[in-house]
C-alpha cells in the first residue's frame, strides 16, 4: 500500500498570523489556486474571539486530484484539521515572533519546512508595557528561524505590502508563489487574486514584491554583539542587545551614527554649528576619542536648550567625571557621563516642549508620518495638559513659589485645564502661543525647577566622582540611573522616587564586589513596574530593609 511514509501525502501549509491580518484571505487564496489546478483543498481556522488581534493558526491541505484505488473506503482524500508537528511542509508567519511560535509548536522543522517569515515586529503587550526597554531581541528569533527551517524565506513583507498600498497577506502570497514549493505557476496565483475581486491592483503589486523577495537570501542575524557597555537592556533577560538589524529605520540610524563616529574623530568641527566651534575644539583636546561623538551630541543639545554658556557648564561637568576614565575601557565612563549629564541638563520643561513642538523639522516629520503630499493642507493639534506645578516650575523662583502656594491660582488653572487643552500648532494663535512659551528660555535659569535640577545633578555627580576611583563599574552604573528619570507628571514623580531609592542604595553597595551589577539589576527593577513594588522587594532582598527605610 502506498502511504504517507512512501510519500503519498497532502501538501501541508500552516499560516500563523494575528487576528485581523488577513490570514483567512491568504488561506482562501491558496485553496482557490489548488482547486483551480484540480487539487483537493481543505482549509480550517479557528473562528471567534481568538481573531480579535490574538495569535491565530490557519491550516490548509492540498492533495492532487487523483482517483482513489478500486474499493477504497473514501472517494475523496481524508484530510486533517490540525497541523501536525514535524509534518508541515510550508509555514507562513506574518511576523517574527509568530515565526518563533511556529518553531516552538513544532510546526517548522529543519528536516521538512519551508518557512516564510516576515521579519517585521508587531510588539506583544508585555514588550510594550515596560517602563524601559522590554523588547525581545529580534536576532534570537531570526537565528531560531534559520535553525528551524529546511529553507528560510525571510523579508519585511509588511513593509513590502505597505509600499504597494496593500496588506501583508498579498506579499506573503507572493512569497509563497516565489518559493517554488507549490506545483503551480505564478499566473495561477495571480489569477486567484484577480478572482477575489477586491483591491486587485494593489494586491498584485504586493504579490510581485513578495515574489521577488522570495528569490533573495534570507537576512542573517548580526553576530552576537560585544556586550555594549553602558547601553542598558530592559528588565528582560533575553534583551541581550539593542541591535535589531531587521528594523530598516534602526539600521539607517545606525549607519548615520557610524558615519558620525568617524567624523567625530576626523572632523569634529563639522558636527556642530558655528557658535560651538570652540566647544568642539575643547572636546577634541580634553576628552577620549570614543566619547567624542556623544559629547558633540551633548554640546549641541545643551546649547539649543539654553545657550553656549550652558554647554560650558555641561563640558565642565563631564570633565569632572572624565578624569577618572580608565585605560582600555572604551571610555565607557566618559561616554555615559556625556550621555546622561546632557539628558538630565536638558530636562523636559514646558519651555523645552514648546520649542520642540514648533521646530520646522518636527512639523516636516509629522507630515511624512501622515503621508501628506507636497503642499497638501494639514493641521496638527497638540494635546496638552499643563499643571499648576509645571507652570510654577517654569516661572522665576519667587513668582513660582507664590504660584505654587496660591490656592486661587491653582483652582483657576485647574479649572482651565481639567480636561486638557488642544493647541493647533499649524494655526496662527496656537503657534504664537507655543512660540511665546519657547521665548521664556532666557528666564529659565531663574526658575524654581532649574535650581532644583542643578542641585540634584551636582549631588549625583558628587556620588559618581566619589565612587569612581575605587569602583569604576559602579560609577558607570550610577550615571546610568538617570534613565529612570523619565516621563511627565506622576510618571516623573515615580521616576524621582525610584532614583532616590537607587541613590540611597548606592551608599550600602559601595565596597561590595558586585556593587555595579547589583545596582544595574535594581535599576531594571525600578523600570519593571509603575508602583515601585519590584524595586522595593529587590531592595529588601539585596541589602535588607534598611535601604528601603533610607529611601
Amino acid at each position: 500500500m502506498s502511504t504517507w511514509t512512501t510519500g503519498k501525502r497532502p501538501i501541508t501549509i500552516a499560516i500563523l498570523a494575528m487576528g485581523g491580518e488577513g490570514g483567512g484571505v491568504l488561506a482562501d487564496w491558496i485553496v482557490a489556486v489548488g482547486e483551480e489546478a484540480g487539487y483537493y483543498a481543505q482549509s480550517t481556522s479557528v473562528a471567534g474571539v481568538a481573531q480579535r488581534t490574538g495569535a491565530t493558526v490557519y491550516y490548509v491541505e492540498l492533495y492532487p486530484g487523483e482517483e482513489p484505488g478500486p474499493g477504497s473506503v473514501r472517494h475523496e482524500p481524508v484530510m486533517s484539521l490540525f497541523p501536525t508537528p514535524g509534518e508541515v511542509d510550508i509555514v507562513i508567519a506574518s511576523e517574527l515572533m509568530e515565526a518563533g511560535r511556529a518553531i516552538q509548536r513544532g510546526f517548522a522543522t529543519p528536516d521538512r519546512t519551508t518557512l516564510i517569515a516576515s521579519t517585521n515586529r508587531v510588539y506583544s503587550m508585555d514588550e510594550k508595557l515596560a517602563l524601559g526597554d522590554g523588547r525581545i531581541d529580534s536576532n534570537a528569533l531570526l537565528e531560531a528561524a534559520h535553525r528551524a527551517a529546511r529553507k528560510l524565506i525571510a523579508a519585511d513583507f509588511m513593509q513590502l505590502a505597505l509600499e504597494a498600498g496593500s496588506v501583508i497577506s498579498a506579499s506573503l502570497f507572493g512569497a509563497l508563489a516565489g518559493s517554488g514549493q507549490l506545483p503551480f505557476a505564478r499566473e495561477a496565483f495571480e489569477d486567484a487574486i484577480r478572482a477575489s475581486g477586491k483591491g486587485v491592483d494593489a494586491s498584485l503589486r504586493a504579490f510581485a514584491a513578495g515574489f521577488n523577495a522570495a528569490q533573495q537570501p534570507a537576512p542573517r542575524p548580526t553576530p552576537a554583539p560585544v556586550a555594549t557597555p553602558g547601553v542598558g537592556g530592559g528588565p528582560v533577560p533575553v534583551t541581550i542587545s539593542r541591535r535589531r538589524p531587521v528594523d530598516p529605520a534602526e539600521e539607517a540610524a545606525e549607519a548615520v551614527e557610524r558615519r558620525r563616529q568617524e567624523l567625530a574623530v576626523s572632523d569634529p568641527a563639522s558636527l556642530v554649528g558655528p557658535r560651538l566651534q570652540p566647544h568642539a575644539s575643547r572636546i577634541t583636546a580634553e576628552f577620549p576619542v570614543p566619547a567624542r561623538s556623544m559629547l558633540l551630541h551633548g554640546a549641541v543639545r545643551t546649547a539649543v536648550y539654553q545657550g553656549p554658556a550652558y554647554t560650558d557648564r555641561y563640558l565642565d561637568r563631564v570633565a569632572r567625571v572624565a578624569v577618572h576614565e580608565r585605560e582600555g575601557s572604551d571610555a565607557r565612563l566618559t561616554t555615559e557621563a556625556a550621555r546622561h549629564v546632557a539628558l538630565w541638563m536638558c530636562y523636559q520643561d514646558t519651555i523645552q516642549v514648546a520649542q520642540q513642538k514648533i521646530r520646522r523639522r518636527r512639523l516636516d516629520g509629522v507630515r511624512a508620518e501622515a503621508k501628506a503630499a507636497p503642499g497638501q493642507l494639514m493641521n496638527v493639534r497638540e494635546y496638552l495638559h499643563p499643571q499648576v506645578e509645571e507652570i510654577a516650575d517654569t516661572l522665576p523662583t519667587r513668582l513660582g513659589r507664590w504660584v505654587a502656594g496660591s490656592a486661587w491660582f491653582g483652582k483657576l488653572v485647574g479649572r482651565l485645564t481639567r480636561n486638557g487643552i488642544v493647541v493647533n500648532t499649524t494655526g496662527a494663535i496656537g503657534y504664537t502661543l507655543l512660540w511665546a512659551m519657547a521665548m521664556f528660555r532666557p528666564l529659565r535659569p531663574r526658575s524654581l525647577r532649574f535650581g532644583r535640577e542643578q542641585e540634584a545633578i551636582e549631588a549625583w555627580l558628587e556620588k559618581v566622582t566619589a565612587v569612581a576611583p575605587a569602583d569604576y563599574d559602579l560609577a558607570c552604573e550610577i550615571l546610568e540611573c538617570q534613565r529612570v528619570l523619565k516621563g511627565y507628571g506622576e510618571t516623573h514623580h515615580h521616576g524621582q522616587e525610584s532614583f532616590g531609592l537607587l541613590m540611597a542604595a548606592v551608599d550600602g553597595l559601595v565596597g561590595r564586589p558586585d556593587a555595579g551589577a547589583t545596582l544595574a539589576s535594581l535599576r531594571a527593577a525600578a523600570l519593571a513596574d509603575e508602583d515601585g513594588s519590584a524595586l522595593r522587594s529587590d531592595l529588601a532582598r539585596v541589602a535588607g530593609p534598611v535601604l528601603v527605610e533610607a529611601g
Binding site: 481543505q42 479557528v46 473562528a47 477504497s72 473506503v73 550621555r339 520642540q356 496638527v380
Partner: protein, 724 residues
C-alpha cells in the same frame, strides 16, 4: 449588520438537485436544512456557529420563498423552547447555538422538550467550542444528550457526511420521537468542501398551516402523570426505535473489517485526525484504507450495544478514541462488554490524554502506544513527533528561547470604543483611591481582565456580570462593587437576572453596560438596542429605558465613550453618590469594526467625488516622548506601539502610532484625562480643500514662517543640518 456578509454566497442555496455544491460547512448545513423540508429555524449566535446565523439572516428571502420561518432568538433558551412547535405538529424545526454554554442556557427547555418527545423532526445544531481557539470552559455537550436522552450525532469532518447527518437527524428524530443534537466541532464549521445537492423542499406543513389548525395532545405536556409516562416511553419505545433506525440506515461505519485482530473505535468528529495518525504510523492511507478495523461512531449517543459487541467479537483489544472528559463512552463500553462477558481488552484514556483536544500529535502517540503493544507489525512509520524532546530530530527540540515567544491573547481592536471605558474606570479608581471588585461578563469587554487594564475578577456566564456581583453587596463596606455587562448579555438575560435582581434586592452595585450597538464579540449581529435600521427586526430600544422600566432610578447614558474625562467623572460620581439602589451607567459608542466597514467606503467615495475629506490620525513626538510607555499602560491599543528611539543619546524605545490608527481619539483623551505627557498630537490631513482652507493656510504660512525663521536661525548657530 453582521461582520461578514453572505449575501453573495447564499445564492448557492437555490441550487437544484444534481449540481455540485461547493463551499463552507455552515453554508452546506443551511442547504441541507432546506433540502430536508425544514419549516422553522432559530438560534443564538456564538462561535463557531455565528456564521450559520448570519447565513440564515442573509438567506431570508430564500427562506421566505419556501415558507420557512426564521427567528434570531433572544437566547438559547428561547431557541430551544421554539422547538415546542414540533411537539404537536409534524413540523421540522432546527435551532443552533454555541455549546456547551448555549446548551447550558437552553437545557431547561431541552429537558422539557425531550420529556414529552416530538412529532416533527427537531434538530439542535451545537457548535462544539472545545480545544484550541475555544473561548469558554472546556466541557462536553455529550452530558446533555445523556441526561435528557436526546440523540447525539457527531459526523466526521467532511461536508458530505455533515449534510447527510442533517438529513438523517430529522429522520432519526421523527422515527424515535426524540430531539436530535448535531455536534459540529470548532474546525468543522468553516471546513471547505463539496457535495451533490438536492432540490430544496417546501415543508409539507408550514408554520402558517399549524397556526391556523391548532391542536394539542395532553399526554405530551410535562405534568404528572404524563411526565412519568414520558420516562417509560424513553426507555421502552424511543430508545429501541432510535437503535433500529441507526442500525438499519448504517449511520455508524465499520472500516477495514477483518484486517486485524485489534480495532479502534472513534467518534465521527475525530475520524479524520485518527486517520492522519494512522497514516503517519503507516497503517492507513489518504483514502482511509486502513489495516486496522475502525468503527466510526457518527452517532455517539445512544451507543448501539449490538454494533459494539459485533465489532469487538474475535478481537484481542480495542482502543476507544473519545475526545474530552469525563469518559462517558468508555464507561458505557465497559458496561456493555462486561455485561456481555466479552474478553476484549478495552483501552482509551489509559493510552490517550484524559482531557484536551485530540490533535494529530496526541492521537499519533496514543495509537502508537496501542499498536506497539498489540500489533507492532503494522506500525511502519516513525513520525518524528514520537521522538523524545531531547532528540535533536524531534519537532519539539528547543530551537527557540521560550522567553522570546510571548503570549498574544486576543484584545480590543484598534479604535475600540470599549478601551476608553476601561481607561476611564482605571482613572476613576485612581481618583477615588480605592480598588474595586469588578464582576466581568462575556463579550469583548472581558479582554479588560488582561494587560493593561487588569480589571475583572470573575465571569459567570453571558449576561451574568451583575448577578456575579450579587453577594458582594455590603451596606457596611466603604466602597461599591462594580459589575460589567455588554448589550448582548444585557438583552440575553442580564435585564432580569442582573438589573431586576439588583433592584429587587436593593443592591448598591455600580453596573456598567457596554453598549456598542451590536452583539460585537460574536460577529456584529444586531440586538434590541442596535442603532441600525434592520428590515427584519425591531431595533432602537434604548437600554436606559429598559432599566428605568424595571425600577432603576440612577441611570446615565454616555453617548460618546471617547470622552474619557467625562466618563471618569461619571464613574467617580456613581461610585460616591449617596443614592440607594443599583447605579447603572450605559456607555455607548459603535463597535469600531462595524463603523469602519461602513465609513471607509463612504470616505473613499467622497474622495473620488472631489468632496472635502479630513483624514485624522494620532502621532507621538519622539523628541518629547521619554519612553516611559505610560500611555500604553492606560490604553493597550494595537496601533499604539513602540519603536527604536531615533535619538542617538537615548536608548529606551519611544511610543509610536502605527499606520493602522483610525483616529478614534483615545490617545489624546487619555493624554488629557491621565495628565500623561505632551507628546501626543493629532494630524488632520485635508483632501480637496475648500477656498477658505486655502486662504487660511496662506495667512498662517506667512505668520508662522515669520516666527519660525527666528527659532531656526538661532538653532542653526549650534546645530548642523544632517550628517552627510
Amino acid at each position: 449588520m453582521a461582520e461578514r456578509s453572505f449575501a453573495h454566497e447564499v445564492q448557492k442555496l437555490r441550487m437544484e438537485g444534481g449540481s455540485t455544491f461547493s463551499g463552507e460547512g455552515i453554508l452546506a448545513v443551511t442547504k441541507a436544512l432546506l433540502q430536508s423540508g425544514v419549516a422553522y429555524v432559530g438560534g443564538y449566535q456564538g462561535a463557531p456557529i455565528s456564521h450559520l446565523m448570519d447565513v440564515l439572516g442573509d438567506a431570508h428571502e430564500i427562506l421566505e420563498g419556501l415558507g420557512v420561518y426564521f427567528e434570531n432568538s433572544a437566547s438559547e433558551a428561547t431557541a430551544a423552547a421554539m422547538l415546542a412547535a414540533s411537539v404537536n405538529y409534524p413540523l421540522r424545526g432546527a435551532i443552533t447555538f454555541k455549546s456547551t454554554v448555549g446548551t447550558n442556557v437552553a437545557s431547561d427547555a431541552l429537558a422539557n422538550l425531550a420529556s414529552g418527545g416530538v412529532r416533527g423532526g427537531a434538530l439542535i445544531i451545537v457548535g462544539e467550542d472545545y480545544g484550541e481557539g475555544s473561548s469558554i470552559m472546556q466541557e462536553r455537550s455529550h452530558a446533555f444528550a445523556m441526561k435528557s436522552q436526546m440523540w447525539l450525532l457527531d459526523p466526521r469532518p467532511n461536508i458530505e457526511a455533515i449534510v447527510r447527518s442533517v438529513e438523517a437527524g430529522f429522520e432519526l428524530s421523527e422515527a424515535s420521537n426524540t430531539p436530535v443534537m448535531l455536534q459540529l466541532r470548532l474546525r468543522s464549521c468553516h471546513l471547505h468542501g463539496s457535495f451533490t445537492a438536492k432540490d430544496n423542499v417546501r415543508p409539507p406543513m408550514t408554520v402558517k398551516d399549524a397556526v391556523e389548525n391548532p391542536s394539542r395532545q395532553l399526554d405530551r405536556i410535562v405534568l404528572p402523570p404524563a411526565s412519568f409516562l414520558h420516562e417509560k416511553e424513553k426507555i421502552r419505545d424511543r430508545w429501541p426505535a432510535a437503535v433500529e433506525y441507526i442500525t438499519s440506515r448504517g449511520l455508524n461505519e465499520v472500516l477495514g473489517a477483518g484486517t486485524a485482530d485489534v480495532g479502534i473505535i472513534v467518534q465521527g468528529g475525530v475520524y479524520n485526525t485518527l486517520n492522519r495518525a494512522m497514516e503517519l504510523l503507516g497503517c492507513s492511507d489518504v483514502f482511509g484504507n486502513t489495516q486496522v478495523p475502525v468503527y466510526v461512531m457518527n452517532v455517539t449517543y445512544p451507543v448501539v450495544d449490538a454494533e459494539i459487541l459485533d465489532f469487538c467479537a474475535g478481537k484481542r483489544a480495542v482502543l476507544l478514541v473519545e475526545e474530552g472528559q469525563p469518559d462517558y463512552i468508555e464507561q458505557n463500553l465497559n458496561a456493555i462488554l462486561r455485561r456481555a462477558g466479552s474478553p476484549v481488552a478495552l483501552h482509551g484514556k489509559d493510552l490517550l490524554p484524559t482531557g484536551g483536544e485530540y490533535t494529530a500529535a496526541a492521537l499519533t502517540k496514543g495509537v502508537h502506544a496501542f499498536l506497539s503493544k498489540y500489533r507492532p507489525d503494522v506500525v511502519e512509520g516513525q513520525p518524528t513527533l514520537l521522538l523524545p524532546e531531547s532528540d535533536p530530530r524531534s519537532p519539539f527540540a528547543t530551537r527557540v528561547d521560550a522567553a522570546a515567544v510571548r503570549t498574544r491573547p486576543p484584545g480590543l481592536c484598534t479604535g475600540c470604543p470599549e478601551r476608553p471605558i476601561f481607561s476611564a474606570l482605571k482613572l476613576a479608581e485612581k481618583e477615588t483611591g480605592k480598588k474595586h471588585h469588578v464582576s466581568a461578563d462575556i463579550g469583548c469587554h472581558l479582554f479588560a481582565i488582561n494587560e493593561p487594564f487588569n480589571l475583572g475578577a470573575t465571569t459567570m456566564g453571558y449576561g451574568l456580570g451583575s448577578a456575579g456581583a450579587a453577594a458582594l453587596s455590603s451596606k457596611d463596606a466603604d466602597r461599591r462593587t462594580i459589575a460589567v455587562m455588554g448589550d448582548g448579555g444585557f438583552w440575553h438575560n442580564g435585564l432580569t437576572s442582573g438589573v431586576g435582581n439588583a433592584v429587587f434586592n436593593k443592591s448598591d452595585q455600580l453596573l456598567l453596560v457596554v453598549d456598542n450597538a451590536y452583539s460585537a464579540a460574536t460577529g456584529g449581529q444586531d440586538v434590541l438596542s442596535s442603532k441600525a435600521d434592520n428590515v427584519l427586526r425591531s431595533t432602537r430600544h434604548p437600554i436606559e429605558k429598559a432599566v428605568r422600566g424595571i425600577g432603576v432610578t440612577w441611570a446615565k447614558t454616555v453617548s460618546d465613550t471617547y470622552q474619557i474625562g467625562r466618563l471618569r467623572d461619571l464613574f467617580v460620581k456613581a461610585l460616591t453618590t449617596k443614592e440607594p439602589g443599583p447605579k447603572v451607567i450605559i456607555a455607548q459608542s459603535e463597535c469600531m469594526l462595524n463603523k469602519q466597514r461602513r465609513d471607509k467606503p463612504a470616505r473613499n467615495k467622497a474622495l473620488k467625488e472631489g468632496k472635502r475629506v479630513v483624514k485624522e490620525r494620532f502621532g507621538v513626538d519622539a523628541d518629547t516622548c521619554t519612553g516611559d510607555h505610560a500611555c500604553i499602560r492606560v490604553s493597550g491599543c494595537p496601533s499604539l506601539s513602540i519603536k527604536p528611539n531615533p535619538d542617538p543619546m537615548r536608548t529606551d524605545p519611544v511610543a509610536t502610532v502605527l499606520d493602522s490608527c483610525v483616529g478614534c481619539g483615545v490617545c489624546g483623551a487619555n493624554a488629557h484625562a491621565a495628565s500623561l505627557c505632551p507628546s501626543f498630537y493629532r494630524s488632520d490631513l485635508v483632501f480637496n480643500p475648500s477656498w477658505r482652507d486655502k486662504l487660511l493656510a496662506r495667512v498662517r504660512k506667512g505668520w508662522i514662517g515669520l516666527l519660525s525663521s527666528g527659532v531656526e536661525r538661532r538653532a542653526a548657530r549650534y546645530e548642523i543640518a544632517e550628517v552627510a
